[in-house]
């Protein structure tokens, strides 16, 4: 073993690391005309697909805010370049990778707050990471606006600096219940429901809330088919469904498993009369590209709808597609909406003082036409939860694009039953 190259390597590594650690400290601090916001997302690991899309969505939002976009109607901050309330200051987002780990998420939150001196944070996709990262923000008195994590406990901690814009599991359960009730009235059979879900905190929390909501409303308890995520094979679960023949199958799955389920259902020639997906996997553009054609007629829960050409949402979708290369999906749209809500509050606060931003957030009262999402509005209760969050049911009618089919008032097309598949 030659010693010299090893010594050289050692010193090279040591010096490189010393140099690297010096760089952040040496960076130029934010100028007065820039508002720095931190964004923590999974930019590596299993959830990287969602995180990378989130990044593209937020970058699109930054472009909309920092430049004049009068064509985007009532969307706050679109008309002018920059934040009018701060004299045209530009928004700058510092992205951080949470690597799928609550510890890393928390460390990055700390770094963004203490080193990058961000005035607010957004993120972090995985509920467990949102939990730890927002705990740090709470300690330091920095507002944390979350657009997409659904775990119930996030707003049960008595935090004063945490705000959540997205609807949560209880809202989804209501949506499914009402939708099934309307479908039943229109003649579909919806007596037996099966919930196919993974045993992550997402899958278990959503499925248990749906079960308890349905039972509370007097419906039969749904059949529960749980599985471990990132499965290598889902044949047994599909065979169980084939055997039990439920009228409605609700899929609460992430992308990888959603793709596997679609393929396996085709292989085993299983077509439930109705499939409702709980966003997530079935909304991922990768899912549509990979197995959209064999999942025609799948319903999905979404608060995002592209809308007619030329509408604000369609224009936003175009801008997003230019940046990311993919169609806008519900999760990325919710993250983008959360970011807009945050920036709107900063604008109204007219200051980068976290306390003023917090106060502005508390007073948020956005109307439906000021949003890109289909919420009824944005207004936070004293737990930090948006009480006007709402959703639609969309359907993958041609295997390529989702169209809104429910509620009737917002529907672009009527629901098509039964599930076509391929």
């Amino acid at each position: 073993m030659t010693l010299k190259p090893a010594i050289g390597l050692f010193w090279a590594t040591a010096i490189t690391m010393a140099a690297m650690s010096a760089i952040p400290a040496g960076r130029v601090l934010a100028q007065d005309k820039t508002v720095k916001i931190g964004a923590i997302f999974p930019l590596s690991g299993n959830a990287a697909s969602a995180g990378v899309h989130a990044k593209a969505a937020i970058e699109t939002a930054v472009d909309i805010i920092n430049n004049a976009h009068p064509e985007l109607g009532n969307l706050p901050l679109a008309k002018n370049a920059g934040l009018a309330g701060l004299g045209g200051a530009k928004v700058e987002v510092v992205f951080a990778d949470n690597q799928g780990s609550p510890a890393t998420g928390q460390n990055q939150a700390l770094r963004l707050i203490t080193e990058e001196k961000v005035v607010a944070l957004t993120g972090a996709y995985q509920s467990g990471i949102t939990l730890t990262a927002s705990a740090t923000a709470e300690r330091y008195g920095i507002p944390f606006v979350n657009g997409e994590s659904v775990a119930a406990n996030l707003t049960e901690r008595g935090f004063k600096w945490f705000f959540r814009v997205t609807p949560v599991a209880a809202d989804f359960a209501e949506i499914y219940y009402e939708f099934l009730r309307d479908m039943k009235a229109a003649g579909a059979k919806t007596d037996s429901v099966a919930l196919v879900h993974d045993n992550t905190e997402y899958g278990t929390s959503v499925s248990s809330v749906i079960t308890s909501t349905f039972k509370a409303k007097g419906e039969a308890a749904p059949l529960d088919i749980a599985y471990a995520p990132n499965a290598t094979d889902v044949q047994s679960q599909v065979l169980q469904l084939k055997e039990k023949k439920p009228d409605v199958v609700v899929m609460i799955t992430y992308t990888s498993d959603a793709i596997l389920f679609a393929k396996t259902m085709q292989a085993l020639d299983y077509k439930p009369p109705m499939i409702i997906a709980d966003d997530s996997g079935y909304s991922d553009p990768s899912f549509i590209k990979a197995v959209g054609k064999i999942s025609q007629g799948a319903f999905n829960r979404s608060s995002w709808s592209v809308g007619p050409p030329g509408s604000t949402t369609a224009l936003i979708a175009e801008m997003y597609k230019k940046k990311s290369g993919d169609e806008m999906d519900d999760t990325a749209a919710r993250q983008m909406q959360g970011f807009f809500v945050l920036c709107d509050a900063i604008d109204r606060a007219g200051s980068t003082d976290p306390a003023k931003i917090q106060a502005a957030l508390k007073e948020t009262n956005l109307k439906a036409d000021q949003l890109m999402m289909g919420y009824k509005g944005v207004k936070f209760d004293d737990k930090g939860q948006n009480i006007l969050a709402a959703g639609f049911i969309i359907q993958l009618q041609d295997g390529e694009n989702y169209v809104t089919v429910w509620p009737k008032a917002s529907a672009a097309k009527t629901p098509v039953l039964p599930y076509k598949g391929w």
Binding site: S44, G45, N46, A48, S49, G51, V52, D191, S192, N199, A220, L223, I225, A226, Y227, A228, N230, A231, T232, D233, V234, Q235, S236, Q237, L239, Q240, K242, E243, K244, K245, P246, D247, T255, S256, I259, L260, K263, Q266, A267, L268, D269, D284, P285, S286, F287, K289, A290, V291, K293, I294, D326
Partner: protein
């Protein structure tokens, strides 16, 4: 296959028990009235056949690993990522030439075998001299390097080959068998047989075995250990690339898929016995069937618990695996 037979007996008892509960004992429950038990036995056979096919796939991507592990005592934490690379080669071949595994698989073998040689001379040869820890360290770093280089180039999106790239689904006596999985299963058998023949019947194979048993003695006999080990590594990597290209026909493709598959390969290889390619086949089939049956009978969240428990119990009673050397 004693173990599979036991599993089948247990399954039959379970089936009888369930039929009793649903038809006889306590009456059918509401919306889920149960069809005739004949359908159920077809479903059970479907589960087992599916498990065998799944297990064959496990064996396919584990055969390369058992080769290097047994011959060179290398713990390769980057194995799953070699499979992933094979999958991406198949994807690139499809994107560029529109061709399926007929072109994708041989190219994957070629690309991965080349990579195997590069990795051997670049890293493995040096860490082999070190303790097992150095191998874990080095191959772990390699895994990250490979995984995230692919991530950097291809992005984080889930990719997929078109569903019908290898025919559709055969229906035989009510059983549904995907052509792509059947192809992978058949190739698994061929690869196992081929590697076994290579090791036991060819002079190259006996040279490789000689080097693995005692490198110094082999050197004294005129065999170059370096070349043999590089060849072994190339063959193993090639087999892994082949596995990846075939799996890509029915599985999704993403940079992190190596994590999921890697640990399955580890369990398969150790159950089968390090170094035994037929052992890996047997172990793979066993694990596939046990997994599918427990998922169907007990619940999919418990299937891995069953596999790991059985695996541990097995190791505790037979520490050299199914067909490993004592």
């Amino acid at each position: 296959m004693g173990k599979a037979g036991d599993a089948r007996e247990r399954a039959d008892r379970w089936r009888a028990h369930r039929c009793f509960r649903i038809h006889g004992g306590h009456g059918a429950k509401g919306a889920f009235a149960h069809p005739a038990s004949l359908t159920m036995s077809i479903i059970l056979v479907q589960v087992i056949v599916g498990g065998l096919l799944l297990g064959a796939v496990y064996a396919l991507f584990s055969s390369g690993l058992t080769l290097v592990w047994g011959m060179m005592n290398i713990v390769n934490f980057a194995h799953g990522d070699f499979v992933m690379l094979g999958m991406y080669v198949a994807f690139v071949v499809y994107t560029l030439f529109g061709a399926g595994p007929l072109l994708g698989a041989p190219l994957a073998v070629l690309v991965l075998a080349t990579l195997g040689v590069v990795v051997y001379f670049g890293l493995i040869r040096d860490i082999m001299k070190g303790p097992m820890l150095a191998q874990i360290l080095g191959t772990f770093g390699l895994a990250l390097l490979l995984r995230y280089s692919v991530f950097w180039w291809f992005g984080a999106n889930f990719l997929s080959l078109p569903a019908n790239i290898v025919g559709g689904t055969f229906v035989i006596m009510g059983l549904r068998i995907e052509a792509s999985r059947l192809l992978a299963g058949v190739v698994a058998l061929l690869v196992t047989w081929g590697l076994h023949l290579l090791l036991t019947r060819t002079s190259l194979g006996s040279k490789m075995l000689a080097v693995s048993e005692d490198a110094t003695a082999a050197q004294l006999m005129g065999i170059r250990p370096d070349s043999m080990q590089a060849i072994a590594w190339a063959i193993a990597a090639g087999a892994t690339g082949l596995a990846g290209a075939l799996i890509a026909t029915f599985f999704y493709i993403v940079p992190t898929v190596g994590e999921t598959l890697g640990i399955v390969a580890f369990v398969t290889v150790s159950l089968g016995g390090f170094g035994s390619v037929p052992g890996a086949l047997l172990a793979g089939l066993l694990i596939g069937v046990i997994e599918s049956l427990s998922a169907y009978l007990i619940g999919a969240v418990y299937k891995d618990i069953v596999v790991y428990t059985l695996f541990l119990c097995f190791l505790w009673f037979r520490p050299q695996g199914l067909m490993g050397r004592s």
